[in-house]
């Protein structure tokens, strides 16, 4: 743990406040904040997180509840929905690239249906909205299953008796979900939200595959500064920023979704 986690983290922290000669300096932070791509990267990362995470939680919850409803073939659905989990980020990005690119499947379809003459440039810097949506859709597709798996696990430990009791008292399906299932699912939701939000702050490969340089994000900038511009100090500053965002968010989630013992089902 110390060797593989704490030590690199301390090293990263130190890098972020050093100049090229190794002395203490705020230079990397200043370079990061004044950089052309900085504000856009912060804005895009936060926007992707704000759009993708709620969409994923809602979708995943619906999927998990459907699975748990015990319909025929729900096992098959679980497999199908888990497929994106087995695909690397970059491969997922490339799959969606082949859909959204100028001569991709989507444009072929649009042209084939006569809805467009030459297709629409979804991924062009001139159409930031469609570019953003393409990334959001790809990212949602890629990682919803992760949330779903956690929620399914959470649903499985909720004793059926609660729902049956509510049913006896005449609660509708919606009331049962709202007042029985959701509160009991809180610990799982908390875990899913924390994991997904932290991962969303690190969104990288899907964005690179779909947008190239058109949609800067924090992790992408960290990568560029390290690999492309060869300045590990500024790269570390970006990494530090991602970590701060993650810590802050985890703190907020832990407070907002505080789990008391009796809610956690620990009698």
């Amino acid at each position: 743990m110390v060797l593989f986690f704490a030590w690199p983290m301390v090293q990263g922290l130190v890098l972020a406040i050093q100049d090229a000669e190794g002395g203490m300096s705020a230079e990397p932070l200043r370079r990061m904040v004044t950089d052309t791509a900085f504000r856009e990267a912060v804005r895009n990362t936060l926007a992707i997180t704000a759009v993708v995470v709620p969409a994923q939680v809602v979708l995943a919850l619906a999927m998990a509840l459907l699975l748990m409803a015990g319909l025929r073939g729900s096992g098959l659905f679980l497999y199908a929905w888990a497929i994106p989990l087995g695909i690397s980020d970059l491969a997922a990005g490339l799959v969606w690239l082949s859909i959204f690119t100028d001569r991709g499947y989507l444009n072929s379809l649009l042209v084939g249906l006569g809805l467009s003459e030459t297709g629409f440039q979804f991924l062009s810097y001139e159409h930031p909205l469609s570019l953003f949506l393409a990334v959001a859709v790809a990212e949602t597709w890629r990682a919803t299953a992760l949330v779903m798996v956690i929620l399914v696990a959470g649903l499985q430990v909720i004793p059926k008796e609660y729902a049956e009791a509510a049913e006896v008292f005449g609660a509708t399906v919606w009331q049962r979900v709202r007042h029985v299932t959701l509160p009991l699912l809180r610990p799982s939701l908390q875990v899913a939200l924390i994991i997904r939000t932290i991962l969303a702050f690190q969104v990288f490969a899907v964005v690179i595959a779909l947008s190239g340089r058109n949609l800067p994000v924090l992790a992408g900038e960290a990568y560029n500064w390290y690999g492309g511009y060869r300045n590990p100090n500024v790269a570390a500053a970006y990494a530090l920023l991602i970590m701060l965002f993650s810590l802050l968010n985890t703190g907020i989630y832990l407070r907002a979704l505080r789990v008391r013992d009796e809610q956690a089902g620990v009698a």
Binding site: T36, L67, M68, L78, A82, L85, D102, G228, R230
Partner: protein, 463 residues
């Protein structure tokens, strides 16, 4: 409900697999572990063991390169060019970042496995600065019969007086590739072999008017070389400077204004293009500027559909950038003798011509290019010759002496481009702000000006 459990187990193991992949982006190709020394029994005629160096005993020689990373290029290097090499070679191409990391890590650890390094002029700078490269001047003198061009040998001194840190390997440059369908829209009076930037912009606009599509193309994607377009082509052509001295001059303001017109006639996907041969073959663009090695597949596949022409000229001349790659030997190389043999082998005319034929890099020696070149390579060779010998030719070298700051230097030009062309920010203001970043890099690296600018005392200054 219980029956879902096994499914869940499977799903979570899938998740584990996914996480594993995510956490390890493309582990750099590790060198194959040195095979245990083979039994010496096979060395039958071991009459003169002391004479030859002992490369075979240490496993294959590791040749680490920033060039020929695409799989098919690396395979050509291994299967064709290195086929008859005098030593057994393990050719490992790598991206600049991991390339640097590995060499530096090996030096720090004191366990060097790389015997030969191949890279562009600029790739050597950080290692030369850190005093990690051997002086190869003896080698350069020994290979004098190869006829390395004087400026290349001069460049390989990396600012020193009497040392050569690399032996020239090969060269390339950037030209325009033109789909023949575009020729009918060429502006009146324009000679496709001697275009100006104004004519190119007009041409693009005319093509757009006629076909309703923007069909000029530039490689502005993450791995594209658009920054070289500014450093080695636009800036010298408009300001007569290599891009630092004239960075925010009045000529530069004019240049960016005219570039915006050029950009307006360019396919907006240019911010994603990396190798222009692909959009050229797809006919998304008709006229594209790029590195010869990144155009070659288009002209090789369809030599009858394309013409290759010199880059355009501006008010100060036809700026162009020759690209030079060389061989270096890191200090502590496990097989220096083998590396020297390999350099001797690869600078022979036969290998130099094979590199041109297979990989579209031109000889860095006086090797004669044969008549029977493939049509596409012939096209490139002609365009390069026309560009080099044009009356108004203005060669502008790669940035020199920036060391590890080369990436940040490139970023200045790309950021300037993003702000002016994509975000429409006021030109003078952007140039003033970016000039400060640029000057910071020059001051930090203490890099002097390089041709076509006259040499400077101390760091090169933005005027």
């Amino acid at each position: 409900m219980k029956r879902i459990a096994p499914h869940l187990l499977l799903a979570s193991s899938l998740l584990l697999v996914a996480c594993g992949q995510g956490a390890q982006p493309a582990a750099p190709a590790a060198p194959k572990p040195t095979e245990a020394a083979k039994p010496a029994a096979t060395a039958a005629p071991a009459a003169k063991p002391a004479e030859a160096p002992k490369p075979a005993a240490e496993g294959p020689l590791v040749f680490f390169s920033t060039q020929f990373k695409p799989v098919e290029e690396a395979e050509k290097m291994r299967q064709v060019i290195l086929k008859d090499a005098p030593v057994k070679v393990d050719f490992i191409p790598e991206d600049a970042g991991p390339f640097n990391d590995r060499l530096i890590a090996e030096q720090k650890a004191g366990r060097v496995t790389v015997s030969l390094v191949g890279g562009l002029h600029g790739d050597f700078a950080p290692f030369v600065q850190a005093n990690q490269m051997e002086d190869l001047s003896a080698q350069v003198t020994k290979l004098a019969d190869r006829g390395f061009p004087g400026p290349f040998v001069e460049l390989s001194r990396m600012g020193t007086k009497d040392k050569n840190y690399y032996v020239p390997w090969m060269q390339a440059t950037y030209v325009l590739a033109v789909n023949k369908k575009a020729l009918q829209y060429l502006p009146q009076g324009a000679d496709v072999n001697a275009l100006t930037y104004a004519q190119l912009a007009q041409w693009g606009a005319d093509i757009q008017k006629a076909t309703n599509q923007r069909r000029l193309g530039l490689p502005g994607g993450p791995k594209g070389l658009l920054h070289r377009f500014f450093q080695g082509y636009l800036y010298p052509s408009y300001t007569g400077s290599a891009g630092v001295v004239g960075f925010k001059s009045p000529e530069a303001v004019t240049m960016w204004q005219e570039f915006k017109q050029l950009w307006e006639a360019s396919n907006p996907q240019s911010t994603n293009y990396e190798f222009m041969q692909e959009p050229l073959l797809a006919e998304e663009v008709w006229v594209a500027w790029d590195h010869t090695a990144r155009l070659i597949n288009a002209v090789k596949d369809r030599p009858n559909d394309f013409v290759l022409v010199p880059a355009p000229a501006g008010p100060k001349g036809r700026g162009f950038m020759p690209v030079i790659a060389g061989f270096g030997i890191p200090k502590g190389a496990p097989n220096r003798a083998g590396a020297e043999q390999l350099v001797e082998f690869l600078t022979q005319p036969k290998q130099q011509v094979a590199t041109l034929r297979e990989l579209a890099f031109f000889p860095a020696t006086n090797a004669q290019t044969p008549e029977d070149l493939p049509a596409g390579v012939r096209l490139e060779a002609d365009a390069v010759a026309k560009q080099t010998t044009a009356k108004d030719a203005l060669p502008s070298l790669l940035p020199i002496g920036l060391g590890a700051k080369g990436g940040e230097f490139n970023k200045v030009y790309l950021d300037t481009f993003t702000r002016i062309a994509l975000k429409n920010e006021p030109i003078q203001q952007v140039l003033d702000e970016q000039a400060k970043v640029l000057q910071g890099i020059m001051d930090e690296t203490k890099a002097g000006c390089w041709p076509p600018d006259p040499p400077s005392d101390g760091p090169c200054k933005v005027k």
